[in-house]
Structures are given as C-alpha cells and as structure tokens.
C-alpha cells in the first residue's frame, strides 16, 4: 500500500479502491489483528456520527472483501460475529 499515491497492490496487481474503501483498509491495517466495531469504523474512519440503523459498514466491508480477498489467498478480512471485523493473514 502506498499512502502517498493511495494505490493498493496485492500480488502485484493494482486494486482500484474508492477513497472511503481506502480509508477503511488503512484503518484495518493499523489495527491489524484487533477487532474493530462498526461504531469504530463510522466514527474514526469516516468521521460520521453512528446510527444503529445503518448498514453502510457492511456494504463497504463486503466491497473491500471482494476487491482484496476474492481472487487471492489467504483471506485477510474476517468477521467476528456480533463484534466487528479484523484483519489477519491466517
């Protein structure tokens, strides 16, 4: 990941991410191995006030997973049901 050009590569391939997806990935990498909740993501990644009705985070995690993990091994983004998400290489 190049923070200056905001380009992300996996296995040598450039992965096109939107700014919000990029922010989310940066946050997950910073907190590698740690479970982050929807609340954390809303507040800290996107500066948004949290509302329980929203499913924005699910949608973005879903997209990010498709772009980062779908065609690659090992899977990096994991879900801890009822708690949040974490990034890990195993």
């Amino acid at each position: 990941m190049n923070l200056d050009t905001k380009n992300v590569y996996r296995a040598g391939h450039l992965i096109p991410l939107t700014p919000k997806e990029f922010g989310l990935l940066v946050f997950l990498i910073k907190n590698e191995g740690r479970v982050v909740s929807k609340y954390d993501i809303m507040e800290q990644v996107w500066d948004l006030n949290f509302d329980s009705g929203t499913n924005v985070v699910e949608v973005y995690i879903n997209f990010l997973r498709k772009k980062i993990d779908r065609n690659y091994e090992p899977k990096l983004i994991h879900t801890k049901p009822g708690m949040g998400y974490y990034l890990a290489a195993n």
């Binding site: 939107t18 700014p19 919000k20 996107w46 500066d47 948004l48 006030n49 509302d51 009705g53 929203t54 499913n55 924005v56 699910e58 949608v59 879903n62 997209f63 498709k66």
Partner: protein, 427 residues
C-alpha cells in the same frame, strides 16, 4: 428584390407566357383557315375557268378573257393559265408575256401527277388542278392570286392580339402587385408587430389571425417562443433580484453589528466573541456567493459539465461528512435497502461535485425543517438506476408548491418563517 416584386414578376411572366401562347395559337389557326378558304376560292376559280373554256363550246378564249377582265369578283393580282397535255399554254387571263413566271414546268408536272396541288409562294397562294375532258383529253389549270382581303384580316387580328397582349400584360402586372401585396400584407403587419417587441415588453404578444393558416401558425409559434423567452427572462430577473436580496440582508446585518459594536469600548472577550460571530457570518456569505456562482455556471454551462461514473453512495457519505462537520447535531442514517452485490450497481454517470451539492442540499433541508434534525437515506437499485430516498419527518412541501422546488431561492409558504438561513434552492 423583395418578395412582393418577385412574386408579381413571376406571376406576370407565367400569365404573359400563357397569353402569348394563346395569341400564337389563335393567329396560326386563323391563318390556316384563311389559307384553306383561299385555296378553295382559287380551286373554284380554276374549275369554273376550265369548264367554261374546255367543256362549254360557246365560250372561247377571247370571250373568256373579256369575261375575266370584266368580272367584278376577280381576285387581286390574279394570274390564271391553262395548259394542254404537252404543257403548251392555251389560255391566260393576262396578255401573253404578262405571266410572272410563277408557273414553273415542275409545278405543272407535279400537278399532272397529283391531280391537285396547293402551295404558297411569297404573298401568293397557287392552286394547280388537273382537268379531264372526255374528248379533248387532259388539261392543267393553274391559278394564283394574293389574298389581300384575308391578309388585311390577319393584320387586323395581329393588331388586336398585340394590343390585347399589351393591355393584358399591364393588367396582369398590376393585378400581380395588388395580389402579392394582399398576400404579404399580414407578413408586413407581423413584422411591424415583432419590431415592437423588446426586452422591456416581452409580455407583448402578436395577433394570431384566424388561428389556422400558415401565418397564424407562424404567429402562434412566435408567441410560444416569446413565452419561453419571457419565462427564461423572468427566472433570470428573479434570480438576480433574489441574489441581491439574499446578499444584502446578511451584509446589512453585518454592518449594523459592526456599527453597534464600535459604539463604545468593549472588553477583549467581547471583541473575540463578536469577531467570531462576524467570521461565521462572513463564511456563510462566502458559501452563499460560491453557491450562486456554481448555480450560474451550472445553468450557463450545462454542455461543458464533465460527466463520469460516480459512486453515488460515496457522494452521499461525503455530503454527510460535510454536513456533520458544520452541524454536529444533524443525524443521518444511510441504509442500503438491498445489499449491492456488485460495485457497478452503485455507479451512475454524473458530475461528482454537483451530485454532492444536491445531496447536501436535500439532507440539510431535511434536517433543518424537522424537529429531530435527522434524515434517513434509503439506497435501492433498479435496472439501470439507483434510487436514493431522503426521508425526513419535517413539515414537507405543500403539493401545489412542489413544482417550484427547482426554482432558485424558492421557499415553500409553510417554511417562510422557519429559519433565517439562506437557501439557493435545489439544483
């Protein structure tokens, strides 16, 4: 050349052509009939002479000549000759040698072969006739004369036709001018009426005549164009007046605030607080004038806007970001009604900045006019489209006024006193 003269000229040319053709036909037919009639007279004359000379025994050439010379109804410049089988001249009404040589031996031969020959030589018509007598054999009678009477008639006819043609032509030209003038009069009237319309009286309309013919349709179309122009003009005018009003109010407020504050000595805290308030007002003014600029550019440069695929949900999130920074008490809840399987479902072709502005306005309005200061945003997908619903529990817009929401600065009647904010209207 204006249309009136062009029309009358074309009209005159066509009518003159017809008149000329007509005259020529009349003249030619008359000439044909004159000649036929004269041939018939010559033929009768030849036959009579032949009978008298050849068949009637009592009449010999001397007597016939006397008769011919004293005939009252003789033809003008008449020459008559009778030849026998060997082409010898046996009788002529003129003295010998006075024949003008109109009768060539070829002509006599041709007559002998054909039985009768009618032709014309210069002013003279010639008829040759073969006459058979049982005892005396075959004779050729040739008669020629000038049809002076007929020619006089033809001259008179020519004169009459020429006069008729000239008079007719004059009448046609005059009638054409009058006719073209009449046809074009409504257009001239239309021109005068149109000339009276200026930017100052765009509400003026031109008379639409009977509402059916081409000119009426032209007038109706012109009036419709005027209506569109007028409304465009009105929008511009209203925009300018609204814009200056919207800018004047906060500027006046700023001025009076400064005047009031300068009235006496204040504590440093008071200065700070007032400067802070002034700063906020100035920021609002800047935002307002920026908005005005964007609005003006958007309406003027629609063609030059850059359209590219935009992730609409991100435009909504960015709008939310902007709004929450300015109004921390505003609450937005974004919900995808269906979970999008593919990112492409969320791509629309648009201008990201303008979309973001539009969403910001909708969301801000929703919060501003609802007591809970919250807006729910529902994103769903239709084939080829993304539906985004902005739901608030505010006062809404009366149905009758909903058509006005795209007018700059428009504020619904039930929202007039709700807020002192300035609004640019929905883009």
């Amino acid at each position: 050349m204006n249309i009136r003269y062009k029309l009358s000229l074309q009209f005159a040319l066509i009518a003159a052509g017809i008149l000329l053709l007509f005259s020529i036909i009349i003249y030619s037919l008359s000439e044909y009939h004159r000649q036929q009639e004269f041939f018939f007279r010559l033929e009768t004359r030849a036959l009579t002479t032949a009978r008298l000379l050849i068949t009637v025994k009592e009449v010999d050439s001397t007597l016939l000549k006397i008769i011919d010379k004293n005939s009252v109804r003789s033809l003008f410049e008449e020459q008559l000759a009778v030849f026998d089988e060997k082409n010898r001249l046996i009788y002529s009404n003129l003295d010998a040698g006075a024949l003008s040589g109109l009768f060539s031996s070829d002509f006599i031969e041709n007559t002998r072969q054909n039985g009768q020959l009618n032709t014309r030589l210069g002013k003279n018509e010639i008829v040759g006739l073969r006459y058979e007598d049982d005892q005396l054999g075959q004779f050729i009678v040739l008669v020629t004369a000038e049809d002076r009477y007929g020619w006089d008639h033809m001259k008179a006819l020519k004169r009459v036709l020429l006069q008729g043609f000239i008079i007719g032509l004059l009448v046609i030209v005059f009638a054409g001018l009058v006719f073209a003038g009449q046809v074009l009069a409504p257009i001239n009237k239309l021109n005068e009426e149109i000339g009276l319309i200026t930017a100052g009286n765009l509400n003026r309309r031109i008379p639409e005549g009977n509402g059916r013919d081409e000119l009426a349709i032209l007038a109706i179309n012109f009036n419709q164009m005027l209506t569109r122009l007028e409304s465009a003009f009105d929008v511009q005018r209203q925009f300018v007046s609204n814009a200056s009003h919207e800018l004047r109010t906060p500027l006046t407020a700023l001025t009076s605030q400064i005047q009031l504050f300068l009235g006496k000595e204040r504590s440093p805290e008071a200065y700070q607080s007032v400067l802070h308030s002034l700063y906020e007002d100035t920021q609002k003014l800047i935002a307002l004038s920026n908005g005005l600029l964007v609005l003006a550019q958007t309406s003027l440069e629609k063609q030059r806007l850059l359209f590219r695929p935009v992730r609409v949900d991100e435009a909504v999130l960015n709008a939310q970001n902007d709004l929450v920074k300015a109004h921390p008490n505003y609450l937005f809840s974004i919900e995808y009604v269906q979970l999008p399987e593919e990112e492409s479902l969320l791509h629309v072709n648009g201008n990201e900045t303008l979309l973001r502005t539009a969403f910001t306005n909708l969301m801000e309005n929703g919060c501003k006019f609802s007591s809970s200061h919250s807006v729910k945003i529902h994103i769903s997908f239709a084939p080829e489209a993304v539906n985004i619903a902005f739901v608030d529990d505010g006062i809404g817009i009366p149905v009758a006024e909903q058509e006005h929401v795209f007018r700059p600065f428009y504020r619904a009647s039930n929202a007039q006193n709700q807020t002192r904010e300035m609004g640019l209207g929905w883009p």
